[in-house]
């Protein structure tokens, strides 16, 4: 069938609209704030034969961009092999197994077969992050788990809804194994309702244009997305581009984990080779294959945001060399850090590798950590237990068009931080500061954005603090001569004594009493371009605003700022004497060579 270009554009818009409506239905009706407000969810349409991504909502969490295609493909494969019961109309499968195309256990996927004229036509699927899935710690982010069983309930694909009715027995098994189970019914209903909205709308689209036309359009759209990605790839110079990114530790063994990436342009395709990366680790900083693929895809979409989210767009991207490394962990390796942290290191490696190849498009490294700080305890005033999460953002990398954004959300997320006033009203804590972290932006012609500096006091009762963060060992690297942003810093002040987690960014169950404090300073973004090329007037203005001290301005940017402001003559002399390159100084924002070239 040949399609006219108008019908093609119109059907593309129609498919995107269906996914957006599913996203909306899910978020609006979801119970959990993680889904309703933080949009930690995604909805999409997948091919009946192989699970290939047909369309996915633009407002879905980026880290799910490729993962759901994997989970659907594996589901189809299991049905073929008789490992999972075959679908009947109005069934909905539930699955969260990381090794079967997942992320971490908290990301619970639903998949619904969509029938048309008595034949399985496609799959509708969505993922929502549940606030708890059982396991050793509330919320599921254990920094020291050594097996997946400690992380929570693991579900292979099973039918939660059978011919439209929820199976109360399976639901009872689930709710008996998770915390705050009474509220989960709200998320389950919303997640299923979103798939049904998708089915209604897809039927309407097919009725209007005809099944054959839509099928032809889907095939053609995949070809077009592929062509568009290939056209973008051809703008990358031929060759191999290398980078490394470092995960501080796995939370159990205090050794860095290294992602070694080489990106090779072969014709109009890219090969992402992770060979030589660290082997699977004992702690939860392993990634599973689906998340590793997803991380590469989402990084590419950050670089080329105009390419449609579609299996076709992924086709020119070949991921290899991850077998046997911590980027392709198998059962029973713990994985709670994969979706939130390791995924961001993978994306960072992609940015660092391609920045020299695409200097006008790619930013320096962003803060790249979800900054997960969990505080669990009991409030003596109410007699009730609580778990508080403070997820935080950091500085983004400088880019060709300007400085990095300050306090942006994680590379793989799109959520808003909760207000301090809401946190203090729900939990027995007091914030002493919630401030811009001065000096943290990596130096560059365009500097990195600034991180966040917050300090929280426990007001009453006892509690335990846990941290799953990253970039504590080295700051987010700069590119093209730019310096690194400041690394993440965690300080726990107990009885006036300062405790620094041995793993810097990860530790579990640090006991706190009333008056004890936690201070976190999140990473700044890496700088873009030579810091000595930064406009001296801009540097002087940023000293006046307190973003940098005069000493930092001199050390990082070669700009001399006195009490009267910019000293142009001294600056010229300083920069001439340096003749390019720059010194490390206070250790706050180093402009030393970036780790990807150093190691």
């Amino acid at each position: 069938m040949t399609l006219d270009p108008i019908t093609l554009s119109v059907i593309e818009a129609g498919l995107a609209q269906i996914c957006d409506e599913m996203d909306l239905a899910f978020s609006r009706a979801a119970f959990s704030p993680v889904i309703a407000e933080a949009n930690d969810r995604s909805d999409g349409i997948y091919a009946a034969g192989d699970g290939a991504l047909i369309a996915q909502g633009a407002g879905g969490l980026p880290v799910f961009v490729g993962a759901m295609q994997e989970s659907t493909r594996i589901l189809i494969d299991r049905i073929r092999r008789g490992l999972t019961l075959p679908p009947e109309p109005d069934d909905i499968y539930i699955v969260n197994d990381p090794y079967l195309g997942g992320t971490h256990l908290m990301d619970v996927r639903f998949a619904m077969p969509f029938w048309r004229g008595g034949r399985l036509w496609c799959w509708l699927s969505n993922t929502g992050h549940w606030p708890d899935i059982g396991g050793a710690v509330p919320g599921g982010f254990s920094a020291s788990a050594t097996a997946v069983e400690q992380e929570g309930l693991r579900l292979p694909p099973v039918k939660l809804f059978k011919r439209g009715r929820m199976d109360p027995e399976i639901y009872a098994i689930i709710t008996s194994n998770i915390r705050v189970a009474d509220q989960r019914i709200g998320d389950v209903k919303a997640q299923a309702a979103a798939l049904r909205v998708g089915a209604d709308r897809l039927n309407a689209l097919l009725d209007r244009y005809g099944d054959g036309v839509v099928e032809a359009a889907i095939a053609e759209l995949a070809r077009r997305a592929e062509a568009q990605m290939r056209a973008h790839i051809r703008t990358i110079p031929e060759g191999t581009w290398r980078a490394e990114a470092i995960v501080d530790s796995d939370g159990v063994v205090n050794e860095p984990l290294v992602i070694r990436l080489s990106v090779t342009r072969q014709g109009d395709g890219l090969v992402f080779d992770f060979a030589g990366s660290s082997p699977p680790c004992q702690g939860p900083m392993n990634s599973v294959e689906a998340t590793t693929l997803s991380s590469v895809y989402l990084a590419m979409r950050h670089i080329f945001p105009d390419v449609a989210i579609s299996a076709g767009a992924f086709r020119p991207l070949k991921v290899t060399g991850h077998r046997g490394t911590f980027l392709d962990a198998r059962y029973p390796r713990p994985v709670s850090g994969c979706a939130a942290e390791v995924s961001q290191r993978i994306a960072e490696a992609v940015f660092l590798a391609l920045a020299p190849a695409l200097p006008d498009r790619v930013t320096a490294a962003p803060a790249g950590t979800s900054g997960n700080f969990a505080l669990g305890g009991e409030d003596p005033e109410t007699g009730r237990g609580y778990v508080m999460y403070q997820l935080s953002g950091g500085g983004y990398g400088g880019w060709a068009g300007g400085d990095g954004l300050s306090n942006g959300c994680s590379t793989i997320g799109i959520s808003k931080a909760p207000p301090v006033e809401i946190m203090e009203s729900r939990f027995p804590v007091l914030y002493h500061r919630y401030a811009l972290r001065e000096g943290s932006g990596g130096a560059g012609r365009h500097r990195g954005g600034f991180g966040l500096d917050y300090e929280i006091e426990l007001r009453r009762g006892s509690a335990r603090a846990s941290f799953v963060m990253d970039h504590g060992r080295v700051g987010p690297p700069g590119v093209l001569g730019g310096g690194a942003g400041a690394p993440n810093e965690v300080r726990v002040i107990r009885g006036g004594v300062v405790h620094v987690p041995p793993h810097l960014s990860k530790e579990q169950d640090i006991p706190l009493g009333p008056g004890d404090r936690v201070r976190v300073r999140t990473p700044g973004g890496g700088g873009h371009g030579d810091p000595l090329a930064r406009d001296p007037a801009l540097v002087a203005e940023e000293v006046r605003l307190g973003y940098y001290t005069p000493d930092e301005a001199r050390a990082l940017f070669g700009v001399v700022v006195g009490p009267a402001g910019l000293d142009a003559a001294a600056t010229a002399a300083e920069r001439a004497a340096r003749g390019g390159g720059c010194q490390t100084s206070t250790g706050i924002a180093s402009c030393a060579p970036t780790p990807n070239t150093r190691r």
Partner: protein, 685 residues
């Protein structure tokens, strides 16, 4: 309430838009309407006076002037703000710069953000309240005085005092306000909790900061205008449109200046509600398509949807109750291109007003939606308001030839494709707005206005499955009409934050009564004749553990607990199609509005009756066919036309597609009933 003589005097609505300043003058005694459209001037007061002159209005004979201004809108978007200082709780001065940890777009790690108040003018003072409103650290008054003095020395004209948890206990802010007002040389001191008594320090802080930063500008502007009008002998009160769709006297508006930032779009929606109600349509989707963008809003039961969570631009929230107008996708100037995948795209780039579409002949070279309409005969090449003389059709055709070549399309086919894609994308965006407000678009009438709205409305309605389109008499003057018909309005929101089973019902009744009383007091202070008062109350509720709110209208100001439970459950089920009887609800906010209703105005004056004249004709393309299509003047329409037809008037062009039926009513509206066949009928077009 008794009518006063001013009822019978002339009323002028004057709205300043980006390009034109529009005036509608209604003279109920003489049974006459006067209209004017004059260029908007840098000092908007000059344009207002010019509009009065153009309409030949004697200011001394006016009973009321209602004014919509973009003074504050432009100041915010262009960051031409008054120098403003902020004093806040120690440790929190960067809240305005850190925002809520976001980025502008889900994909792409780039973007930038500039805080409303620069860092050196954000100062801290020792003081602390907790979330329950208990004082943890007393206000350091000497320290406060020193910071105020420092901000004065730094040349600040306006001041914000914004303390953590002031919504729970405003004592510190009030005391700081007393001290500040004693030292500050003018009245420009904004206290965070006075404007918005809700938790969320970033949103409350930005709202207060925007308010402070535009207050001096708005006050100066209105002082100039008031004085100029007084010199012309205008004896009455100058009223100003607010973003909540109500108006407020110029004497009072500056105190809550932030409310005027989104007033332009709000007044258009108010006009739509008024026109729709008179025409017998209480449920409308408004569709205002202009040159660069399209505004969409929802009206139910003749009441526009209101939101307290408007973002003026990225990370610029103004959390005050305002008419919920969403800006979507394309405008007439949106540019069509073929992307690297070979797919046709329309927008998001726009040719804007300068150079504008190719057909404006001002140097535009890329084909736009307006150009496509021209090439297909839908717009009159000799009648474009923005163009001197005849539009350059040959250049337009050549551009569509270039666009169509890689698609294998002839120029006219390419133009049809552009409209098809643009309408599909716009319809999708309108549908999302509607769904996100819990409404099925098919239950609404599409109310089309703005320069380009009526040209696309029937195509959009088809796409959305909407059966009827209402085009008002003066689509291009709708915002000015909103000024003419607007009511006086005051809104109140107070946080309660209590689970329903522990709620103090008597305290709730008292709070609702307090809202109503304060509203009546404020309206009484504005010397405007009214036909009556209307009070509405609503509750923001959620299930325990949720963060998003559902607004539940309250018909009875003294509800009991069971009634609240039932209202919420049924509203929740209706909205989300999910019943959650297992979980208990929480009452978060009480929101009230007190509206002083103005006497009804006879809109039939807007479209004086001329006897029907025979139409002209031109070839217009519908689907694949070129059809000789009658072209009517709006002033001389017959009562009933069957499509295809084009209707032209000074401020817009209306397209009626084959088979559609258009009828005029007593107010000069055109009601278009779409040919049966619904969305499917569009497929071949």
């Amino acid at each position: 309430m008794t009518a006063t003589p001013s009822d019978r005097l002339q009323i002028a609505g004057i709205d300043v838009g980006g390009t034109f300043t529009d005036l509608i003058l209604v003279d109920p005694v003489a049974g006459r309407v006067r209209l004017a459209k004059t260029p908007t001037t840098a000092n908007q007061a000059d344009g207002v006076l010019a509009a009065l002159d153009a309409a030949g209005v004697d200011a001394a004979a006016l009973g009321l002037i209602v004014h919509g201004t973009t003074t504050t809108t432009n100041a915010v978007l262009q960051r031409r703000l008054a120098r403003t200082g902020l004093i806040t709780t120690r440790g929190f001065r960067d809240v305005l710069e850190l925002g809520r940890r976001t980025r502008p777009r889900p994909y792409g790690m780039t973007g930038s953000f500039r805080p409303v108040i620069p860092r050196d003018l954000r100062r801290e003072v020792t003081v602390r309240m907790d979330a329950e409103g208990r004082v943890l650290v007393a206000l350091d008054e000497d320290g406060l005085r020193a910071e105020i003095a420092a901000l004065l020395a730094a040349g600040c004209e306006s001041l914000v005092i914004h303390f953590l948890h002031s919504y729970a206990n405003p004592a510190h802010e009030r005391r700081a306000g007393e001290i500040a007002r004693a030292m500050w040389p003018n009245g420009h001191v904004t206290l965070g909790h006075e404007l918005l008594s809700e938790a969320r320090e970033f949103e409350r802080g930005v709202t207060a900061a925007v308010n402070a930063a535009v207050q001096p500008l708005l006050e100066r502007y209105l002082a100039r205008l008031t004085e100029a009008l007084a010199r012309r002998g205008y004896p009455g009160e100058l009223l100003v449109m607010n973003g909540n769709g109500g108006m407020v006297s110029a004497r009072m508006v500056a105190r809550e200046a932030a409310k005027t930032v989104m007033s332009g779009p709000a007044s258009g929606v108010m006009a739509a509600a008024h026109v729709g109600r008179r025409a017998g349509f209480a449920d409308l989707l408004t569709y205002d398509m202009g040159g660069t963008s399209t505004d969409v809003a929802l009206i139910r039961g003749a009441q526009p949807a209101v939101s307290s969570e408007i973002e003026v631009e990225y990370a610029m929230p103004i959390h005050l109750p305002m008419v919920d107008v969403r800006t979507v996708g394309a405008g007439g100037g949106s540019i069509a291109r073929v992307d690297a995948s070979g797919l046709l795209r329309v927008g998001p780039d726009s040719a804007g007003a300068d150079p504008g579409p190719i057909c404006y002949g001002r140097g535009g070279t890329e084909p736009t939606i307006t150009d496509a309409n021209l090439l297909l005969g839908r717009l009159n090449p000799a009648g474009l308001t923005a163009v001197e003389g005849e539009a350059p059709i040959a250049a337009v055709r050549a551009a569509f030839a270039r666009l169509g070549a890689p698609l294998g399309l002839e120029p006219e086919d390419a133009a049809a494709a552009v409209l098809r894609v643009a309408n599909t994308v716009m319809a999708g965006a309108v549908r999302m707005v509607s769904l996100s407000l819990g409404a099925d678009p098919r239950d609404f009438v599409l109310f089309a206005f703005g320069g380009a709205g009526p040209l696309h409305a029937t195509q959009l309605a088809r796409e959305l499955g909407i059966p009827r389109v209402l085009v008002p008499a003066r689509p291009g003057l709708t915002n000015a009409l909103g000024c003419v018909v607007a009511d006086l309005r005051h809104d109140f929101v107070t946080s309660v934050n209590q689970p329903l089973d522990r709620l103090d019902i008597d305290a709730l009744h008292a709070l609702i009564a307090r809202h109503a009383e304060e509203g009546r007091r404020l309206i009484a202070a504005e010397s405007v004749a009214l036909a009556g008062l209307r009070e509405t109350h609503a509750l923001d509720m959620q299930f325990q553990g949720q963060t998003h709110l559902l607004r539940v209208p309250l018909d009875d100001p003294r509800p009991d607990r069971d009634m609240l439970q039932r209202l919420f459950e049924s509203a929740y089920a209706a909205r989300f199609r999910v019943e959650l009887t297992e979980i208990r609800p929480v009452l978060v906010n009480v929101a009230s509005s007190v509206v002083g209703m103005r006497p009804d105005i006879d809109l039939s004056l807007l479209m004086p009756r001329a006897s029907p004249a025979p139409p002209a004709s031109r070839r217009v393309r519908f689907g694949r066919d070129w059809i000789d299509t009658p072209v009517f003047r709006r002033e001389s329409l017959p009562g009933r036309i069957e499509g295809p037809a084009v209707v032209e008037q000074m401020d817009t062009t209306i397209l009626i597609e084959p088979g559609d039926l258009a009828e005029t009513d007593g107010d000069g509206n055109l009601l278009i009933t779409l040919a049966a066949g619904g969305a499917g009928a569009e497929a071949g077009r």
